[in-house]
C-alpha cells in the first residue's frame, strides 16, 4: 500500500503545476509568470543596464552604428538608406513590439483573438468599415513604387530580425500577462497601422446622428443648433484670400433638400467614432518676427495619451539625408520633425470624408442591389474572425459598386454597430479606401531641402488630410490644407444619402491646385488648430463642425508677438488661457441674479469674477466655470432633447455661446416643459446653483482644483492602471493651446528654430522604452506635465565620443 502516498503526492504535484501553468483556476498562470528565469522578473530591467551590443544580421547591406543618448534616443548612422529602415524596424520591435502588435490587431479587427468574445463587436465593425480592405489597396499602391517597396521590405525585415531573437523569457511583459505570442511582421501590417491613423484622423462623421436630428427637429430649430457658419471663425487661410478659379462644379441632385433630407424615418445604427478632439496646433513664424531672423516651426499633435506612447523619437542619418523627430512604431521614417534644411509638422484636416448610403437590395439574400435603375450584382467579402477559446465567427460583408468604387455595406440587419434593431443596409464610402502612397510623403519630407521639395512631398498625402506646416533655413514658411478632398455640393454628406442613384456620389476631387495654402504670407506667420480652413468664399462645401477657439487665440498671440525666441514658443505651446471662457464667462457674470445667491454661491461667484481665465493646475475658478457651462448647456437643451432618439447629434460647442451672445432671447432658453417662460438670467442662475452644489462636494473631497478635477492621465494601452500614469499635475484643457484633457492632449510638443545650427526642443508624454519594467518607460512624463522640454540633439558623425552618447549598437551583415 506504499504506493498510495506516492500517487497522492504525484497527483498534488501534477495539479499544482497545472494550476500554476494555466489560467484554468487562477486568473493568471502564476508559476510561469513568477518564475524568475522566465516570467515577469525577466522584464525588470536593471537600472544600469547597458544597451550596447554588436549584431550581425542577414538582410543588411552595409554597416550601421546606433548611438543612444542619455534619454535612450537612438541616433542611427547607416551607410545605406535601407539599412537605416531595417535598424529602425529592429529598434521599434526591441522597444515597442507589444504596442505594434496590439495596434495592428485592433486596426485589423483581430482583438477577439487576444481578448475573446468581448472583442467581437469591435472586430466586426472594423472589418465592416473595410480597414484591411483599405490597407490591401494601400499596400498594392505603395509597392508599385520601388523606393517605398524596398523601404518597407527593409523595415519589415528589421522587425522580424528582432522577433526571431525572442525567447519565452525575453518576451515583452504584456505578452506574458495576456498570454500570447508575437506574430511575424509584414509590409501589410505597416499599412494596417497607417490605416489606423486614417481611422483616428479621417473617420469622424455624424451622418446618422445628423440624419436623426434633421428628422426630429423642425428646420428652424435644426439650423440654429447646427449652424453652417461659425461667427467666431478665424480660418487657417485668412479671410479675404483669393482662391484659384473653380474647375469642378458639384451639382446637388434635384430634390435633395425636400425629398431625401426631410426623411422622418430614424436611423437605428451607430458607428464607433474616433475622439472628436483629435486635433492639434501647428504654426511657423518667419524670420521677420523672430529674435534671430530665422524662422521657427512649432507643432503639437493632440491625440489619445497612452503608454507606450504612439511616438518613438529617433535620428536617421544616411547618405541622402539627416532627419530627427518622432516616428510611428509600425512604420519607417521620421513623421514629424526636421532635417538639416527644414522642419515639418501636421494638424488634422478634420473634414468629413466618410459617407453613408442607404442601399436597396432586391431581397433578403442581398445578391443584387438597385443602382441607377438596374439590378447589379453584390460582391462578398467573407471575414473569419478568430475568437480566443471559441470557434471562429464568420461574417459575410456585402460590397456594392457605387460609381467606380466598391464600398462595404457596413451596417445591415445582422449588424447595427453600437445599437440594435437596424433593418436597413448602409454602405460606407470612405476616402481611406482609395489608393494612395502616404509613406512617400515622409520619405520625401525627410530629405526635403526647400519649399518645392516640401510641396512635391505633401501633395502625395490624400488621406488623412492634414494641415502641413513647413519652415526652411532659407527663410520660407508655408502651410497647405493638404488632402485629396471630395468636391461637395452644399450639405453633401451631412446626412445619410440614397444609394440608389449616382447623383448623390462624390462628383470629383478638388484639384490639387485649388487646395488652399499660404506661402510666406505678409502677416509673417502661418498657423492651424483644426478650425475650418477657409471662409465662405471658397467654392466647395467643407462641412459645418470645426473647433474654432484655439485658432483664434493662436492667431491673436502670434500677430502681437515680435522678436520671438524658442522660449516664447514653448510658453505659447503650454499656454493655459481658455479663449472659450473669455467668450462665455461675460454671459454668466452679466446675467447672474446675484440676489438669489446664498453666501457659499456668492463666494464661488466671486472666484469666477476674479478668474484670469487660465486653466491652471490649482485654479478653482476653472473648475467652477466648467461645471457651470456643462449645467448651462444641459439646462438649455435637455428639454428639447427629452424625447429625442438615442442616436442624435448634440449641438455644436459654439452654438450655444454664439446663440446667446447674438440674441439674449435665444429661443432654446425657455424650458418647453414648464408653463412659465425662462430667461437667460433664470437659466444662468439655475445652472450656476447646480454647479455650486457639485463644487461644494468636490471641495469637500479636495478635488476642486482644476488639475484634480479633470485628472489628466496617460493610460496603458490595455487600460491596466498600475502600468499607467494617472492624475498628473497639468493645466490646460479642451479650448487651451495646452489641450491636455483627461486622456487626450499634446502627444508631442516640438519647437524648431532654423538658425544656422538648428535649435530644437521637444517632449512627449511617455518614454523611449515600452517596457513597464524599464526606467525609460515613462521617463518624459513629469517633464511633459510641467511644460518643460528637452533639447533635441541632431548628432553629427564627429560627435561619436560626445559625453551624451551612453551606449552603442552596431549592425552589420
Amino acid at each position: 500500500m506504499r504506493i498510495i502516498p506516492f500517487l497522492a503526492s504525484a497527483v498534488v504535484t501534477g495539479g499544482l503545476v497545472t494550476v500554476l501553468n494555466t489560467s484554468l483556476v487562477l486568473p493568471a498562470p502564476l508559476g510561469k509568470l513568477l518564475s524568475p528565469q522566465h516570467g515577469v522578473w525577466q522584464n525588470a530591467e536593471p537600472v544600469n543596464k547597458s544597451f550596447s551590443e554588436d549584431l550581425k544580421l542577414p538582410g543588411l547591406n552595409g554597416k550601421t552604428d546606433v548611438y543612444f543618448d542619455e534619454r535612450l534616443v537612438p541616433h542611427i548612422f547607416a551607410e545605406q538608406e535601407n539599412d537605416a529602415y531595417f535598424v529602425q524596424g529592429y529598434l521599434h520591435a526591441k522597444f515597442r513590439l507589444w504596442q505594434m502588435e496590439l495596434q495592428t490587431f485592433a486596426a485589423a479587427g483581430r482583438v477577439s483573438e487576444i481578448l475573446g468574445e468581448k472583442g467581437l463587436q469591435h472586430d466586426r465593425e472594423f472589418r465592416r468599415l473595410g480597414m484591411v480592405y483599405a490597407a490591401e489597396i494601400a499596400l498594392a499602391e505603395g509597392e508599385k513604387d520601388p523606393v517605398i517597396k524596398s523601404e518597407c521590405d527593409a523595415y519589415t525585415a528589421g522587425v522580424n530580425a528582432y522577433i526571431e531573437t525572442l525567447t519565452e523569457s525575453s518576451l515583452p511583459l504584456e505578452y506574458k500577462l495576456i498570454g500570447f505570442k508575437p506574430e511575424k511582421w509584414s509590409n501589410l501590417k505597416s499599412f494596417i497601422f497607417l490605416k489606423y491613423m486614417s481611422y483616428d484622423l479621417a473617420a469622424r462623421e455624424d451622418d446618422f446622428e445628423m440624419t436623426n436630428a434633421r428628422g426630429f427637429f423642425s428646420d428652424s430649430v435644426f439650423n440654429r443648433l447646427f449652424p453652417a457658419i461659425q461667427d467666431s471663425l478665424d480660418p487657417i487661410i485668412p479671410k479675404g484670400t483669393v482662391f484659384a478659379p473653380q474647375k469642378i462644379f458639384p451639382k446637388a441632385p434635384v430634390g435633395a433638400d425636400s425629398v431625401y433630407l426631410n426623411n422622418k424615418e430614424l436611423v437605428m445604427a451607430e458607428a464607433s467614432q474616433p475622439d472628436r478632439d483629435n486635433g492639434s496646433n501647428n504654426w511657423a513664424v518667419s524670420g521677420s518676427k523672430t529674435s534671430t531672423g530665422a524662422p521657427i516651426l512649432c507643432n503639437d499633435p493632440h491625440l489619445g495619451l497612452n503608454l507606450p506612447s504612439l511616438w518613438y523619437e529617433l535620428q536617421l542619418s544616411v547618405p541622402g539625408f539627416n532627419a530627427y523627430g518622432v516616428s510611428f512604431p509600425g512604420a519607417p521614417g521620421v513623421i514629424i520633425g526636421y532635417n538639416d534644411s527644414c522642419a515639418f509638422g501636421f494638424t488634422n484636416g478634420g473634414r468629413d470624408v466618410r459617407e453613408y448610403y442607404e442601399i436597396k437590395f432586391r431581397d433578403e439574400k442581398r445578391e443584387e442591389y438597385s443602382f441607377n435603375g438596374e439590378w447589379k450584382k453584390t460582391k462578398w467579402r467573407i471575414d473569419t474572425i478568430g475568437i480566443k477559446g471559441k470557434p471562429d465567427f464568420i461574417d459575410s460583408v456585402a460590397y456594392v459598386q457605387m460609381g467606380n468604387d466598391w464600398c462595404p455595406v457596413m451596417f445591415d440587419p445582422t449588424f447595427s454597430g453600437k445599437r440594435t434593431g437596424n433593418k436597413k443596409n448602409y454602405a460606407v464610402r470612405w476616402k481611406a479606401h482609395d489608393a494612395s502612397n502616404e509613406l512617400k510623403i515622409f520619405n520625401m519630407l525627410n530629405r526635403a531641402k526647400n519649399y518645392a521639395d516640401y510641396q512635391a512631398a505633401v501633395t502625395n498625402l490624400h488621406t488623412p488630410g492634414q494641415n502641413c506646416a513647413f519652415a526652411c533655413k532659407n527663410g520660407d514658411i508655408a502651410i497647405r490644407t493638404q488632402g485629396e478632398w471630395p468636391a461637395k455640393w452644399k450639405g453633401q454628406g451631412d446626412f445619410v444619402m440614397p444609394g440608389t442613384d449616382s447623383s448623390y456620389l462624390w462628383q470629383g476631387m478638388i484639384p490639387q491646385d485649388e487646395v488652399p495654402y499660404q506661402y510666406n504670407p505678409e502677416r509673417g506667420f502661418i498657423s492651424s488648430a483644426n478650425q475650418k480652413p477657409v471662409d465662405e468664399s471658397y467654392p466647395y462645401y467643407l462641412g459645418r463642425n470645426y473647433p474654432p477657439y484655439r485658432g483664434i487665440y493662436i492667431n491673436k498671440r502670434l500677430s502681437a508677438m515680435n522678436n520671438i525666441t524658442p522660449q516664447d514658443m514653448m510658453q505659447l505651446q503650454t499656454d493655459n488661457y481658455d479663449v472659450f471662457a473669455e467668450t462665455a464667462l461675460p454671459v454668466f457674470i452679466k446675467n447672474m441674479k446675484l440676489n438669489e445667491l446664498n453666501a457659499e454661491e456668492k463666494k464661488y461667484f466671486d472666484l469666477l469674477v476674479a478668474w484670469d481665465k487660465r486653466d491652471d493646475v490649482n485654479s478653482q475658478a476653472a473648475t467652477i466655470f466648467d461645471l457651470t457651462w456643462n449645467h448651462f448647456d444641459d439646462t438649455v437643451y435637455n428639454d428639447e432633447y427629452a424625447k429625442a432618439p438615442a442616436v442624435i447629434m448634440q449641438p455644436f460647442e459654439s452654438s450655444l455661446v454664439e446663440g446667446v451672445l447674438k440674441d439674449s432671447a435665444y429661443p432654446f432658453l425657455d424650458n418647453i416643459s414648464t408653463p412659465q417662460k425662462e430667461t437667460l438670467a433664470d437659466q444662468v442662475t439655475a445652472a450656476f446653483k447646480s454647479a455650486c452644489k457639485k463644487a461644494a462636494v468636490l471641495a469637500s473631497e479636495g478635488k476642486l482644483e482644476w488639475a484634480k478635477y479633470k485628472h489628466t492621465g496617460v493610460n496603458h494601452l490595455a487600460r491596466l492602471a498600475p502600468l499607467s500614469r494617472l492624475n498628473l499635475p497639468i493645466g490646460g484643457g479642451n479650448h487651451c493651446i495646452n489641450a491636455a484633457k483627461a486622456d487626450h492632449g499634446p502627444s508631442w510638443r516640438m519647437v524648431i528654430s532654423l538658425t544656422a545650427k538648428t535649435e530644437a526642443y521637444g517632449v512627449y508624454p511617455g518614454g523611449q522604452s515600452g517596457n513597464p519594467g524599464s526606467k525609460f518607460y515613462d521617463s518624459f512624463i513629469d517633464q511633459w506635465a510641467a511644460g518643460k522640454y528637452y533639447s533635441l540633439w541632431m548628432m553629427t558623425a564627429a560627435e561619436k565620443t560626445d559625453a551624451r552618447v551612453k551606449w552603442k549598437m552596431t549592425f552589420s551583415k
Binding site: P5, S9, P36, A44, G773
Partner: protein, 115 residues
C-alpha cells in the same frame, strides 16, 4: 548533511534546468534529487521547499533590487492588488517552494515504495 546536499542540489539543478527548460522543470529537479538521495519524506519535502524558497526568492530579490523595484511595484499591484515589492518576492519564493516540495515528496515516496 543529506538535507543540506539535497537542498543545494535541488537549487542548483533547478537553476540550470530553467536556463533551457520551462519553469516546471523545478518539479523534475526536486523529484529526481529526492528519488536519488534517501531522506524521510518530511525532510525531502522541507529541503526542496527551502531550496526553491531561497532560489526563487533570492533571484527575484536580486533582480528587483537591480531594477530599483520599478517592475515589482507595478506587478504587485496588478497581481496581489497591493503595492509591495517584497510581498511579490515572497509570493515568488512560495510558488516555487510549494511545487518543488510536493515534487520532492513524490520522489521520496517513490523511493520508499520501490525499496
Amino acid at each position: 548533511m543529506k538535507f543540506l546536499i539535497s537542498l543545494i542540489l535541488t537549487a542548483l539543478i533547478s537553476f540550470a534546468a530553467c536556463l533551457y527548460l520551462p519553469w516546471w522543470s523545478i518539479a523534475v529537479a526536486a523529484f529526481v534529487v529526492a528519488a536519488l538521495i534517501p531522506q524521510k519524506p518530511g525532510k525531502a519535502f522541507l529541503s526542496a521547499f527551502l531550496a526553491l524558497l531561497l532560489l526563487w526568492g533570492g533571484l527575484s530579490f536580486w533582480i528587483s533590487n537591480g531594477n530599483e523595484h520599478i517592475l515589482a511595484h507595478k506587478v504587485s499591484l496588478l497581481i496581489l492588488k497591493m503595492d509591495n515589492p517584497y510581498l511579490l518576492i515572497l509570493a515568488t519564493g512560495l510558488v516555487g517552494a510549494l511545487v518543488a516540495a510536493f515534487a520532492a515528496l513524490t520522489g521520496a515516496y517513490l523511493r520508499r515504495s520501490a525499496a
